[in-house]
């Protein structure tokens, strides 16, 4: 399978926050899924992790308790000895669903339980911590997601198909980082239904009247 190059990446702020561990779970999931598809961002994450390593190396220290080394060795001895896991033990190479997302939806995009949000668009909300929301969006080929703005940040990662909005075209693996300044109308490419993973830290803000009324009920 040939992969089209990914042209839309994570920004520094998101990578740094992911490395520091300060993002809500829904954002961590979306970032980790993009990195699973994007070697470029994986390398950049490595650099941010090494900043964390350098800070640990350079920081002041707090003395450990007197018996803590012995206590730690006891912990190690008490732990059940398991056969070392190989790194890829639990990955299914044939799956189209990247590993971080597989933990939430299984390995089949066709088995997702979609709920209609109108105009052919469907969504499935994933179970994450409540400080942000992760959802899968299903946009039929050629269809549009209603015009909307955001109060906070919205990440949209394309898993299948492609969409265009006022900013650009986004294909498989591409991630769009939208902040409150962006009001956009994503339209799926003709030819293939588009499936995205989206994370939001505040409800979307639709411009038309109807969606705004529907919003609290649909958790859009």
């Amino acid at each position: 399978m040939t992969r089209t190059p990914i042209t839309h990446h994570l920004n520094d702020a998101l990578l740094m926050s992911y490395s520091a561990g300060t993002l809500p779970e829904a954002f961590n999931l979306t970032v980790a899924t993009h990195i699973s598809m994007c070697d470029d961002c994986r390398a950049r994450l490595g650099a941010f992790d090494s900043v964390g390593g350098a800070l640990i190396e350079g920081c002041e220290s707090v003395a450990m308790g007197t018996d803590s080394l012995a206590a730690t060795l006891n912990r190690i001895r008490a732990a059940p000895v398991s056969a070392p896991l190989t790194q890829n033990a639990n990955t299914v190479p044939t799956s189209r669903v990247p590993a971080p997302l597989r933990d939430y939806i299984g390995d089949d995009l066709n088995a997702v339980r979609w709920r209609s949000v109108g105009m052919g668009v469907k969504q499935a909300i994933l179970t994450t911590s409540r400080d942000a929301t992760a959802r899968l969006l299903y946009i039929p080929a050629g269809a549009a997601v209603p015009d909307h703005g955001h109060r906070g940040t919205e990440l949209t990662l394309v898993l299948q198909g492609a969409f265009c909005d006022e900013v650009d075209r986004f294909g498989p693996g591409d991630i769009e980082v939208a902040d409150e300044d962006l009001t956009h109308t994503p339209v799926a490419d003709i030819g293939l239904d588009c499936i995205c993973l989206a994370a939001t830290d505040a409800p979307l803000r639709f411009r038309g009247l109807m969606p705004r009324i529907a919003q609290p009920f649909l958790r859009i």
């Binding site: 740094m16 070697d39 090494s50 390593g53 800070l55 803590s68 730690t72 590993a99």
Partner: protein, 222 residues
């Protein structure tokens, strides 16, 4: 369109740190940079390489003396990191012991061509912190399909440890105001907006200081 996106990516993001991290990845068997960059080894390189040897000794021979050395150096730092993130001393002590035990248990997963000992320990401590403070799971990227080599390449390992030392020096050389914010971003368990609340600085100032700091680090890693 493609060009446009590529340019946007390069300027907004991190050409140099990217290059740096890529030397640690086997996909990017990059350029002649590697051969040229094996130079005089500094004390810090030597130290980094020693920590790597300790982890390998734990992996291969369950070497408790090697573990004791790592513990003496890193456990007090991990504890300080956890306490700065908001855990009390008792919990930080407990979590640090768990972090160090995880190091032992996962020693076979450590890849010194991709991370220094300090970086690897940082990622274990960070994940423990998220688990302890927020009771959240932490989705991690899928492992690279080619996995890891049983025996990491010596030259790759050496380059990575040197670059780590270089990065440490560059961070130490940052202006105080910038280093302070980078530390808060990593150690405080604070989002950039929470840092704004805590410091009283406008969010824009925080973002631009962090950006300046990253620019300096990239410059230093050239």
């Amino acid at each position: 369109m493609l060009d446009n996106a590529a340019i946007q990516h390069d300027t907004a993001l991190s050409p140099v740190i990217v290059t740096r991290a890529k030397t640690t990845m086997r996909t990017a068997e990059l350029t002649g940079k590697r051969a040229g960059s094996i130079e005089v080894r500094t004390t810090r390189d030597q130290e980094n390489t020693d920590w790597v040897a300790c982890i390998i000794a734990i992996r291969d021979t369950q070497d408790e003396a090697a573990f004791a050395r790592l513990f003496g150096h890193f456990a007090p730092r991990v504890k300080a990191f956890l306490m700065r993130s908001g855990t009390d001393a008792t919990m930080a002590e407990e979590c640090t012991q768990e972090v160090m035990a995880t190091l032992w248990q996962k020693a076979h997963l450590f890849d010194p061509t991709r991370a220094s000992a300090a970086t690897w320990i940082f990622t274990i401590a960070r994940n423990r912190k998220i688990d302890a403070l927020r009771k959240q799971k932490r989705p991690e990227p899928e492992d690279l399909p080619w996995g890891q080599d049983p025996e990491p390449d010596q030259a790759d390992t050496l380059v990575l440890q040197q670059e780590t030392a270089q990065l440490g020096a560059a961070i130490a050389a940052l202006p105080d105001k910038q280093r302070d914010l980078i530390e808060k971003a990593y150690f405080g368990d604070l989002t950039h907006s929470e840092i704004a609340d805590e410091t009283g600085l406008p969010l824009g100032t925080i973002k631009s200081r962090i950006r300046l700091a990253l620019d300096r680090l990239r410059h230093a890693m050239k």
